[in-house]
């Protein structure tokens, strides 16, 4: 991430500069470069909650050439389809991987809100990448486009889902105890008929096993059925907790 320079070419809206900086900070990118930015927009880049660090360290340039001079891979972003462009376009996942694996400084260029990157800007790019927006509405907000591209850069195929300890499923034995308690309740409540008792009980147990009961919720389930059972057997009593 240290190698990646995010280059905004001719940004006009201070909110977008701020939003770009914020997404950079969210995803751990700290090298923001602005080409031909309006001074007013730069100064007013307000929406960047907590992104002050990125904005403070950002650098201004007057041409794209100067902004990417120390980079050995320069990637342009576009919202246009491949038919409109002469450059090679790589899909965003591929772009993310190539930028991550590149042995040297890289730049990812975003054009102005209104016009995107010009042909002159594009001439500095080795190739382009495109966020797969739909053709009928392809143009993205600048801050959102930066967020999506940087997300793709930090996304790791091999990172695992993490389940907090509290969300582990209850063991089969625990589920069995809960189901047994439920069956007791249902028997007392007259839900289970003598003749079909066995198959009904099996169905109920299966129902509980296919329900995703969490380890931390097992005691609550047991407690609920225990209380219901108590009330079924002591209908005229109070709340049973004494």
């Amino acid at each position: 991430m240290e190698q990646v320079k995010v280059v905004l070419v001719s940004p006009r809206n201070p909110l977008n500069i701020g939003a770009a900086a914020r997404a950079m900070s969210n995803f751990g990118f700290f090298h923001l470069r602005l080409v031909n930015a309006y001074d007013v927009a730069y100064a007013e880049a307000r929406s960047a909650v907590n992104a002050a660090e990125v904005l403070r360290a950002s650098k201004q340039f007057s041409t794209v050439g100067e902004a990417v001079a120390d980079c050995t891979l320069v990637v342009g972003t576009t919202s246009l389809g491949p038919r409109a462009l002469k450059h090679a376009i790589r899909r965003l996942e591929t772009a993310g991987r190539l930028l991550r694996e590149h042995p040297g400084n890289t730049a990812i260029l975003f054009g102005s809100e209104k016009f995107g990157l010009s042909n002159d800007d594009l001439s500095h790019c080795h190739w382009l990448t495109r966020i797969p927006t739909r053709e009928a509405h392809h143009s993205m907000n600048l801050g959102q486009a930066v967020a999506v591209c940087l997300y793709e850069l930090i996304r790791r195929e091999d990172e695992e889902s993490r389940q907090p300890a509290a969300a582990r499923p209850a063991s089969s034995g625990e589920v069995e105890r809960i189901a047994a308690r439920a069956v007791e309740c249902l028997r007392d409540a007259g839900y289970i008929q003598e003749l079909t008792a066995e198959s009904t009980e099996t169905k109920i147990r299966r129902l509980f096993h296919r329900t995703n009961i969490l380890e931390t919720d097992a005691r609550v389930w047991l407690g609920m059925f225990r209380q219901i059972l108590w009330k079924l057997r002591n209908p005229s009593c109070g709340d049973g907790t004494e």
Copy 2:
């Protein structure tokens, strides 16, 4: 995409509502639901360039329960790490896949800019997903978070990179002709020494072959060397084009 309902819970900033609608339109999602939105913010959702369609079709609800009543999978978004939460958290790629594959209406919930989803909001969720922002600055802008999540939903592993026809590499034969012309120039220019001529010429040809010359640029390369060669052989003449 038709099944997915994007639910913004208590959004405060009209720019964010607009930005969420715009990202939805970019990525082809048309069901926006707002829970407990400030009327003023809703009315002022201005930044949504071309997202009027999404905003016009959006629906308002007063509780999360009503907003997700017709959904059979409800996924909450959070910027917090797993340690802070009791819910199961799935990484965003997994969430995207499960939402795409779900046989029925789904909802993806985004909390307010300031507080995220409340415990009560979370109680409606089957599980949560998290955009992998860094711990030191985990909280994303709402519009950007919506954009990143929807991008992940439409992202397809199997979609191929598309190379516009114009970006096809030049054939080996064309590159060979260019290299040969270059060698002629360099010989005339005294770059190639008699003794090492063969190895130098091989090096030059290899250089051209490992350079990524595009099909559409082949004629330009040939023309450049032809012109240089002409000038080398006619040093006192004008521009050689007569």
